[in-house]
Subunit: 281 residues, 2 copies
């Protein structure tokens, strides 16, 4: 196979990254995706940097065994903790969702008051604030970890009085800070954006990093002369892999993707540890 028409590897702790895969399918319809959801070890947001780097290395090794031409880390926590490690260890382009999300927020804000909501891991890494200080030195950044949002999304209580009360509890601080831009810093959160918008008020602009991440992916592939050369009418065979073989992933994927997911194949991803890297842990 020509290198240009090799698939793009996309991974996440579970189903959340499908919101990124969906955006890639929409903006780049000639690209083929190999998606890996780490459903056996989800969630990532409450776990340590060492654990997330270890998991990310295994998944990257698995994706490389499928000859991907680039890897998108479609999970904010893994992007926060493991992007630099993977970029330094792997010789294909690796893209995270945090930098593009920060960039969009910097371009969007008018009053230079930006809120970030994400998992505990992403917030404690301080990575959004760090990037924003680089690209928008005047911006004031206010952050809040929202650990119950992921389980509420997985319970599918998307438009629910409990979800509204939890959102109100988490977001009241950010409301008080008069932010005009709020980054949805976890790929699950776009699925409850209506509730978040309601609680924050219509004037606050919500940033979903998936859109800008896909634009960056396009640019990086172009720079490396790796954009797919196939025709938009050619058959595309997206493939989906998970670490836990239950049927829930496939049902969730079919509810949000524009393509039909016939199968999500279970793989033992821990067997793909990069040899020679283990000792560093």
């Amino acid at each position: 196979m020509e290198k240009q028409n090799a698939p793009i590897g996309v991974f996440d702790s579970g189903v959340g990254g499908l919101t990124v895969a969906r955006e890639i399918m929409r903006q780049m319809p000639t690209e083929e995706i190999i998606y890996f959801g780490d459903t056996a070890r989800v969630p990532y947001g409450s776990k340590s940097k060492e654990t997330i780097i270890n998991f990310s290395r295994q998944i990257a090794a698995f994706l490389q065994s499928k000859d991907v031409k680039a890897i998108v880390i479609a999970c904010n926590t893994a992007s926060a903790f493991a992007l630099e490690t993977l970029q330094s260890e792997i010789d294909i382009p690796v893209i995270g969702v945090v930098k593009p999300g920060a960039k969009t927020a910097a371009q969007t804000t008018k009053n230079n008051r930006i809120g970030i909501i994400a998992t505990e891991g992403t917030i404690s890494s301080n990575i959004y604030t760090k990037y924003l200080k680089q690209i928008a030195p005047k911006a004031q950044v206010f952050t809040k970890a929202c650990p119950l949002f992921v389980p509420l999304v997985e319970e599918q209580w998307l438009y629910d009085s409990v979800t509204i009360e939890v959102a109100d509890r988490y977001l009241s601080e950010l409301r008080a800070y008069d932010i005009d831009t709020l980054v949805l810093g976890c790929t699950h959160y776009p699925l409850i954006r209506h509730t978040i918008q309601k609680v924050m008020g219509e004037k606050v602009h919500l940033v979903n990093p998936a859109y800008e991440t896909t634009k960056e992916l396009h640019q990086v592939l172009e720079e490396h002369q790796l954009l797919a050369t196939r025709d938009v009418m050619d058959k595309i065979n997206h493939r989906f892999y998970v670490s836990d073989g239950s049927d829930k992933f496939r049902m969730f994927a079919n509810s949000i993707l524009p393509c039909q997911v016939e199968e999500a194949k279970a793989v033992s991803v821990e067997q793909y540890a990069v040899s020679g890297k283990e000792e560093r842990l």
Copy 2:
């Protein structure tokens, strides 16, 4: 070391099983515990049987490498899915929390109407209902999965209006069934028993399987002549291991255990896969 004074291995998906470890320390103060919390892969409740068996095998192999004399599966989901497998593959006693919980419920109920609340995995396994039908054929069993209880406990919203509303949503069905006994079929749930009691009403008896599990452990060790022979005043060295090395586990352990936990050592448990067993997966 004499076999009798070897430690007891106790494992759980995370911190929940510490409620069982606490009960063992209370009822059997001369026994030493090696605890493993699978904090890198928590929670278990939403994952498949195959995944949970795979994880449980790795953990059992790790505990056996520490020369434990018996293993307590202090997690309802792992007890539901992996108890029989471990019992058939391992030559030391293995005890789960489900059978003792079911036994207590059968002895407690007066109107033969028993409720079970647990994770999705435990409920879908139907294992509590199966045991109860064997030991109390007249009992009617009503079950309800409560997936948000574990994240609410981990967020430490133990006495909270959101937790009360979520509990009310989950438990209203069971209230309508006029049960007089409710099994807390997940080791996290005893930590919100006050909220559950409030929502169910004072007349409903809550069963915490930890108490009866420890009684069964005592009996099984006695039958195998494996009860510790050391003196109650001898120094006991409980040890704690986790798969994710963050400090949260240790802090949580110190908040609920009667002993001081100085260290929870991180181990890569997936390396302890039992050789020759992998192919069966």
